[in-house]
Symmetry: C2
Subunit: 308 residues, 2 copies
C-alpha cells in the first residue's frame, strides 16, 4: 500500500496528473486506461440495475436547487457558471486590455446556471409535478462541482470531479430493495478491484443550523451509508454513498405514486477519482499491478444468479 | 429527412430532450444509446490515430487563455466558474433568505477558472515551455461551454456541449499528414452513419478588429476546413472542423522542436450533439431507422490497409 501523497507524487513525476486551478486536474498516461476501466465497471454495475441511462444536463437551475432546499443544506459548495455580456464595447475593452483575463473576470454577468453539485438533482426536476406509474430507476455519469477550499485534494476532493449515480423513485419498498441490491453489487466490484473497504453509517455535512438536526436523524434512522476505503494511516475515504431520502425529494418536487402519495427516493453515488485513488493506493501506479475488471459482468451475473 | 425543428419537437414530445437553462440540455430514452454509438465511433476514429488519450481538466486557467490570445479572438463566448465565499455569515444569509437562489447569485466570488471553450487549450498549456522530442498526438472528449446568446439551439449550438478533439504537435509535415489522415477517416465515419456532408473551406468567427485579418488569412491559406451537413432547407451545420494553426500555439506556448524552432500544431474537433442531430435529421427519431456503427473499426482498418 502507498500513501495517497506518494500516489500523487508518483503520478505528478510521470506527468500523469497536473492541476490547472485549485481542485481542477487532468490525467494522462496509463492511469487514464485504469480510470476508463473503473468507469466501465461502474457503468456495468449501473446497467445491472437499469437500462435507463440519461445524459444529465451540464448545469442545474437555481430554481431546482431552491426546490431541493440546497441553499439551506450545502451552500458552501456552490459553484455557478457566468458568461460575459454580449456588449460589443465591453468585449472590445477586454480584448484591448493589458490584462484581458482580469478584465474578463470583472465583466461577467450574474450566474445563469449552477454547475451540478450532484447528478441526481436534475432527475428529481425532470420528474417534478408528475405521477410515476411504476418505479423509476435511472443512471448517469457527469462532472460535478463542489468547492471545498482548503480541503481540496487531488483524486480525493476535487473542485470538479466525476460522479456516477443510480437513482430510484418509487414506493418505500422499491427504494429499500434497490439500495440492498446496490450494496451487494458494490461489494462484488470491491472484490474484483481488490480493494478493502467497509460499509459505515454516515451523515451529510449539512450547513445551516436548522438543517443540522437532519444529520443526526440520518444517523439515527440509518438513512446514509458510505463505502469507506482506509489509507495506510487509517484516514477514511468515502468512495460510494447509499442514500435513503425517504419522502424528501418526492415532497419537494411533488413526485407522486399512483395512489397520490409522494414517492420515496434513494440514490447510490460513486466518486470515480476516489475509486481510482483507492486502486492506486492498494496496487501502486505501475500498470502491471492493476486488477483486471473485465470479469465484472460475469461476476455480477453470477451474484444475481445466486440470489435465486 | 426531417427538419431540425421537427427532430427537436419529436424528441421533446417523447420526453427524450429537455432544457434546464438556455443552451443546457439533457437527453434520455433511446437517443442516449445513439449518442453513445456516435461517441464510441469517434473514440475509435481517434484511437486509429493515437492511443494517447487524456482526461482533460474540466476548466482552463485564465492565464492559459491569455497566452492563447483567446480574449482578442473569441471573448464573446467566455463562460467561467465562480464559487460562493466560504464566509459563514454570508452563507447563513443565503440559507435564511426568502429567495436563496437570488441571494447566492449575488454573492459569488470572482471567477477562478474558465469552463473550456475547446478541449485543446489544456493540451498546449500542458506542453508549454517544453521541447517535444517526437510528434505528439493526443485525444480527449470533454464538456465545452460557449455562450452564444440568441443563437443557442438545442443539439446545434449548446451553451454546454460535448467535444471530441484530436490534437497534433510536431513539424509542419506531421501536422499536414495528420490532418489528411483525419479527413479520410471522417469520410469513412460519414459513410458508416449514412449522412451526407461536404468539406468546405472555413474561418473562425474572430472577434476583435485586429484579429479579423486572421479570418481572411485562414481562408486564403486553407487553414480551416469544416465538414458541413446540410438541413433539408440548405442551412449548414458544421459537425467537424480541421484546423491548421501553423506556428500560432507553438509560438504562444513556447513549444519547441528538437532543433529549437517552434512546433506546428493542428487539431480536429467534433461536436457530438451536432453529429447526433445530423443522424436524426437523416434517419429520423425511431431507433429502427438508425445506422449501426459497430463496423467502424473494421472499416477504419480496411481504409488503412488500402493505403498501403
Amino acid at each position: 500500500m502507498l500513501s495517497p501523497e506518494e500516489v500523487i507524487r508518483q503520478l505528478r513525476e510521470r506527468g500523469s496528473l497536473w492541476e490547472v486551478a485549485p481542485g481542477v486536474s487532468g490525467l494522462k498516461g496509463p492511469v487514464v486506461s485504469l480510470l476508463r476501466e473503473i468507469e466501465a465497471a461502474l457503468a456495468d454495475l449501473a446497467r445491472a440495475e437499469t437500462s435507463n441511462e440519461w445524459v444529465t444536463p451540464a448545469g442545474v437551475s437555481f430554481e431546482t436547487l431552491e426546490r431541493a432546499q440546497y441553499f439551506a443544506s450545502f451552500p458552501q459548495w456552490l459553484t455557478a457558471a457566468s458568461h460575459l455580456s454580449g456588449d460589443e464595447a465591453a468585449l472590445q475593452h477586454i480584448a484591448a486590455s493589458a490584462s484581458p483575463g482580469a478584465a474578463a473576470r470583472s465583466s461577467l454577468e450574474p450566474a445563469d446556471v449552477v454547475l451540478p453539485p450532484a447528478v441526481c438533482y436534475n432527475t428529481y426536476a425532470a420528474h417534478a409535478d408528475s405521477v410515476i406509474a411504476a418505479p423509476v430507476v435511472m443512471t448517469a455519469q457527469g462532472t460535478c462541482w463542489r468547492y471545498e477550499g482548503g480541503r481540496l485534494a487531488q483524486l480525493e476532493r476535487g473542485w470538479a470531479f466525476t460522479m456516477r449515480e443510480i437513482v430510484c423513485l418509487g414506493a418505500q419498498s422499491d427504494v429499500k430493495e434497490f439500495l440492498d441490491r446496490s450494496v451487494e453489487r458494490v461489494s462484488t466490484l470491491e472484490r474484483v478491484l481488490g480493494i478493502n473497504c467497509e460499509m459505515v453509517a454516515a451523515s451529510d455535512p449539512f450547513f445551516a443550523p436548522n438543517a443540522r438536526g437532519r444529520a443526526a436523524l440520518q444517523r439515527i434512522k440509518g438513512l446514509k451509508h458510505e463505502l469507506v476505503f482506509r489509507f495506510p494511516d487509517g484516514r477514511p475515504l468515502a468512495i460510494a454513498s447509499f442514500n435513503d431520502h425517504e419522502l424528501f425529494f418526492g415532497d419537494a418536487f411533488k413526485i407522486s405514486l399512483p395512489d397520490g402519495s409522494p414517492a420515496w427516493s434513494g440514490c447510490v453515488a460513486f466518486g470515480l477519482e476516489r475509486w481510482l485513488m483507492a486502486v492506486l493506493v492498494t496496487h501502486g501506479v505501475e500498470p502491471s499491478g492493476w486488477p483486471v475488471t473485465l470479469s465484472l459482468n460475469a461476476e455480477l451475473a453470477q451474484a444475481r444468479g445466486s440470489d435465486k
